[in-house]
């Protein structure tokens, strides 16, 4: 008995997957390999010819205090943002699954920070954090926390600049975390909680022994997505502070961009960007493990 090609699942599976696989190999895998090759070379915008230089780019990167500063900043940003995103995302998810009038409008308003192109919302924030005209300063002056004509210079002082960048990240990614956690809240089988109620478990008992353990894996997924997106993002830093003042808000991604594109030193930029990879891999493995655990339900 002969089967038509269009009936043979094995051949069909290959035909269906081949375009995606080829495309990803061409435009994700090969640039990735190329990034490693660049990191070991002296390629620059002015002299694109390839000369192997071994670990010299890495040596230069390690000698550069700005690199260590960026690395530290990246961790601070990611860590603080992740915690805030998960906690606020959970709160937001609970609000969004509740039943009330005007829910559609509230959902629309809540989604805005996430669906708006990040460069555009960041530029709105640039004015909200302006050194003279900041509306936040105006409110503080209005309530007497700042004297007349006083300003905080949100983006001009290292500590405040970092707070500002973290705040914008959290503001932007919390709705995403909320959507992921909504998916989790919807997926939790209702009958478990109902059964517990019938068996006489009180509110707190249900909260700690049923709700939190069930939500935890989903919260972990949201946390890791939040971490990956904060960790690799440079748009907020780029638009708000350009890494300043004095590299106080410089992160790995933005530093790689300065070295590699604006400084034209492709080799060193690639070396800096490669530092993102091991940490991303760790995050990815963690996400997958958590997702596996959810699937066993």
């Amino acid at each position: 008995m002969t089967t038509r090609i269009s009936d043979r699942a094995g051949v069909l599976a290959w035909l269906f997957l081949l375009p995606s696989v080829l495309y990803i190999v061409a435009l994700v895998a090969s640039p990735f390999v190329l990034a490693i090759a660049f990191a070991l070379s002296d390629v620059s915008a002015g002299d694109p010819s390839y000369d192997y230089v071994g670990g010299r780019n890495f040596e230069r990167v390690f000698d550069d205090p700005v690199f260590w500063r960026s690395l530290g900043n990246t961790f601070v940003f990611t860590g603080i943002s992740m915690v805030l995103i998960v906690v606020l995302g959970k709160v937001l998810a609970n609000i969004l699954v509740a039943d009330f009038r005007g829910k559609w409008l509230v959902r629309f308003l809540v989604l805005l920070p996430w669906t708006t192109p990040v460069a555009l919302s960041s530029i709105s924030w640039l004015w909200l954090l302006d050194s003279i005209y900041s509306p936040i300063d105006w409110v503080l002056r209005f309530f007497g926390f700042l004297g007349p004509g006083e300003n905080l210079y949100w983006l001009g002082q290292p500590g405040l600049a970092m707070t500002s960048v973290i705040a914008v990240h959290v503001w932007r990614l919390t709705p995403l975390a909320a959507v992921i956690m909504m998916a989790g809240l919807v997926a939790i089988p209702r009958d478990i909680e109902e059964a517990a109620t019938v068996d006489g478990a009180g509110y707190w008992r249900r909260m700690f022994e049923i709700k939190i353990p069930l939500v935890l894996p989903v919260a972990a997924v949201a946390a890791l997505f939040g971490a990956v997106f904060t960790f690799t993002d440079m748009a907020v830093v780029r638009v708000l502070t350009r890494g300043g003042p004095n590299d106080a808000t410089q992160v790995l991604a933005s530093w790689a961009f300065y070295r590699g594109i604006e400084g034209g030193d492709v080799g060193q930029g690639a070396a800096v960007a490669l530092f993102l990879f091991p940490l991303l891999l760790a995050a990815a493995i963690a996400i997958l493990r958590v997702v596996r655990r959810i699937e066993v339900w």
Partner: protein
């Protein structure tokens, strides 16, 4: 009985208060942008003026300026057509791939699905340097087409993941019935499965378009000429002359871009939630 009634009322009020606070925290900057966009310069550039209300009569001048005297409409047009092409390429790549991984039961489909998920986590900030050299080598530097070529790397993996979720939600009997009725496997996919997974396709279209419109690093690294830029790099780089920001026009641009995307996204929010759920949870 009364205590229960009071409790219920309090809980209702609490829900509304929480919802309003959340909405204001999230959308506050946009509401304020909307006010600012219509302010006169003399109103805006006075630090003693209340920044949340009009201290002088509103003016549409700066908004008109955005649409008539800047390249904003060009940016918008670029974002739109790049987005449409990227979405089409994404669907052509992702839909068959998702079907193969979700349904055709090869021994390697599990590991390959994981590999595709890992690709989703490889960020532009890791690849932009080598990709920009590749774009130069192909001769697409400073052309909007470079984005059409590269953006599906961002959208395809996540779309495969989402579509797998939707496909798993469709009972297998439907294809089997179609094949019993004389369709080939391919025919069953095209005629029976695609129409059923249509809601998922729409969700993926919206999601992929949003990702494309938001992308920043590649656009910044690949394209320098004003007329080739999309909204995400055009607005922040071209509405600024040296140190002079066209603030009202910038705020108007943010609102003009943000509102339509969020409106469409909100329409499909329930589907995304369903897609995430089916994909990752009920695997």
């Amino acid at each position: 009985m009364n205590r229960y009634a009071v409790r219920r009322v309090c809980a209702r009020i609490g829900v509304y208060v929480a919802a309003i606070v959340a909405a204001l925290l999230c959308a506050g900057p946009f509401l304020w942008s909307l006010v600012t966009a219509f302010k006169q310069n003399r109103d805006l550039y006075d630090p003693t003026n209340n920044p949340f209300v009009f201290n002088r009569p509103a003016t549409p001048d700066h908004v008109t300026y955005l649409f008539t005297d800047t390249a904003f409409l060009t940016f918008t047009w670029n974002t739109l057509w790049v987005g449409v092409l990227v979405v089409l390429i994404t669907l052509v790549l992702a839909l068959p791939a998702a079907y193969a991984l979700a349904r055709l039961d090869r021994p390697w489909s599990g590991p390959l699905a994981v590999a595709i998920f890992l690709v989703y986590l490889v960020p532009p900030s890791l690849l932009f340097l080598s990709l920009s050299r590749m774009v130069v080598a192909i001769g697409l530097q400073d052309s909007t087409w470079s984005m059409v070529l590269v953006y599906p790397t961002i959208t395809t993996p996540v779309s495969v993941w989402l579509l797998m979720g939707f496909l798993k939600g469709i009972p297998r009997d439907i294809e089997e019935q179609a094949m019993v009725d004389g369709y080939s496997r391919l025919g069953a996919f095209v005629r029976a499965v695609i129409p059923l997974v249509f809601p998922g396709i729409v969700a993926v279209v919206v999601f992929a378009f949003t990702l494309t419109a938001s992308e920043f690093i590649y656009a910044l690294a690949f394209v320098a000429p004003t007329d080739q830029m999309p909204v995400s790099t055009g607005v922040p780089t071209q509405l600024v002359r040296g140190d002079v920001f066209f603030w009202q026009s910038l705020q108007a641009a943010t609102v003009a871009v943000a509102v339509p995307i969020a409106l469409v996204f909100n329409l499909f929010l329930d589907r995304f939630v369903a897609g995430f759920t089916m994909g990752s949870v009920k695997g």
